[in-house]
């Protein structure tokens, strides 16, 4: 068995893991990142690609905005833009109740300094004439953006590697333990790493590591089904979401329309499968045609999904372990980890190197699962696989 030493070992080469590795390496840490497959293979690489700011969990805004600043300079940070584009994001409400919800979201966003435009039906028609007339109200946030998830994680991993990070793919962590003043990490193929700090960014597979240290979280593995159409003349600039969660879509400049469908579908982390049931494909198609009737004759050509960890309160676990000093968790991103990924990586690097981060992360403590956690309305609505 080969033995090696590092300052930090990161388990999990998703977006969170690679950004954490990148920022740690910039702080001169010796970092090893281990993934059971290849970097960015699961939800990091298969998600919708939204960098949405409006409508987030209120306690997440400081982190979200910090993360967006990093996205906005991604080309300078890692040398590739990964199709980052400030497309804006449009939220649609279909009745008065939804309009009130939208207004609530808008006020939270504005209290954090985000500019939100409020639009009525006639302005909506004027600006996006192809939208169906069902929407009674909408909010538009121009700073919201999109990027190509297929490209981002490998690109960040390459940048991290260029800074000296050791990236080990196709290697399963078989054991983690605390020993002396650090951790010992073993892989199934016989490597043995000792390190001072350990980052648990193993997504839907992260609970096994937490439980080694007496902590847990009620994680549910699931896949957000995604669909894409054939290319269509480019006319939809922002990403568009119905606030009832029935549909979210965007068009890439090549012309394809990417569409995410709800509810999310239970996945099988043991066999690494995240199926997309045909009924969901039809439901998503129906929902899109209702919002944008102009697309009714457009064809869906492909579907995909990837495994993501969900938690019943629909907010992630980010921060130090409460049972083991030197262990940091970042998992269970509940389908909204893409936008906060770089911010989470930066905060974790600060916690590890400086002992603290200026960004408030208290709501994300794993300690909340010591008590029973309320199941969020969003979880009930967007999920059918528990």
């Amino acid at each position: 068995m080969s033995r090696h030493a590092a300052d930090v070992v990161i388990v999990g080469g998703g977006l969170i893991g690679v950004w954490t590795a990148f920022f740690l390496a910039r702080r001169k840490q010796r970092v090893v990142l281990i993934d059971k497959g290849v970097v960015g293979a699961q939800s990091s690489g298969t998600n919708f690609g939204n960098l949405r700011l409006q409508g987030r969990f209120p306690g997440q805004y400081p982190l979200s905005l910090r993360s967006q600043s990093l996205w906005e300079e991604i080309a300078a940070l890692i040398g590739e833009d990964c199709e980052f584009a400030r497309t804006g994001h449009l939220y649609l409400a279909y009745d008065d109740e939804e309009r009130a919800k939208l207004e609530g979201y808008a006020q939270v966003s504005e209290s954090h300094g985000l500019a939100i435009e409020r639009l009525g039906p006639s302005e909506l028609r004027k600006r996006w004439p192809w939208l169906s007339e069902r929407a009674v109200a909408a909010t538009f946030s121009a700073r919201d953006a999109t990027a190509n998830p297929r490209l981002v994680t490998p690109a960040v991993a390459r940048a991290a590697r260029a800074l000296g990070v050791t990236i080990i793919e196709n290697s399963c962590v078989s054991d983690v333990a605390h020993s002396g003043d650090g951790f010992s990490v073993k892989t199934a193929d016989g490597a043995h790493w000792s390190c001072g700090a350990l980052v648990n960014a193993a997504g839907a597979w992260a609970v096994a590591i937490a439980e080694r240290f007496g902590e847990t979280a009620p994680i549910v593995p699931a896949g957000p089904p995604q669909f894409v159409t054939e290319p269509f003349p480019y006319l939809i600039e922002p990403s568009i979401q119905a606030i009832d969660g029935s549909v979210i879509f965007r068009q890439i400049p090549r012309g394809n329309i990417i569409l995410a469908g709800y509810p999310r579908t239970a996945a099988d982390p043991v066999n690494n499968r995240a199926p997309v049931p045909p009924a969901k494909t039809l439901a998503a198609m129906r929902a899109l045609a209702r919002v944008a009737p102009i697309l009714a004759q457009c064809h869906v050509i492909r579907v995909w999904s990837g495994i993501e960890g969900y938690l019943p309160d629909m907010i992630p676990v980010i921060g130090p372990s409460l049972t083991m000093p030197g262990l940091f968790h970042a998992f269970g991103f509940c389908g909204h980890g893409f936008q906060i990924g770089p911010g989470v990586g930066l905060c974790l690097s600060e916690m590890i190197v400086d002992g603290a981060t200026s960004t408030p992360l208290e709501p994300f403590s794993i300690g909340r699962f010591r008590e029973s956690v309320a199941v969020s309305e969003k979880f009930r609505k967007e999920f059918d696989g528990a």
């Binding site: 192809w130 290319p231 003349p233 006319l235 090549r254 102009i294 004759q297």
Partner: protein, 104 residues
């Protein structure tokens, strides 16, 4: 303009009611029972231009598998030319209708 004569050559004659369709604004004569692809390619050298490189394409597998022969209807619809029969009054295009038309 398409200066090359039709790509396809009719080897045998055919019976059946004559119909007229339109492609890129021009009237095209056809017989019932013909595929859109055969009708168009007996008169032209290609069916459409590709989305990304603007290359001319004329279909490839001719049996509904390669998806290379999709053409546009005038109302923004799509149809696969090799597996679709011509119908009277069809209005088709090699290029998508302008975005302005689509915006409505």
């Amino acid at each position: 303009m398409d200066d090359h004569a039709g790509q396809f050559v009719r080897a045998v004659s055919r019976q059946g009611p004559r119909i007229t369709l339109h492609f890129d604004g021009e009237a095209v004569e056809a017989s019932e029972g013909e595929s859109v692809l055969a009708v168009l390619l007996t008169q032209r050298s290609f069916l459409r231009r590709t989305e990304f490189g603007s290359e001319p394409r004329a279909g490839f597998c001719l049996m509904g598998a390669c998806q290379d022969c999709w053409v546009w209807s005038d109302t923004g619809g799509r149809l696969r030319a090799c597996t679709t029969n011509v119908t009277e009054g069809m209005v088709l295009r090699s290029q998508p209708p302008g975005v302005d038309a689509l915006r409505g």
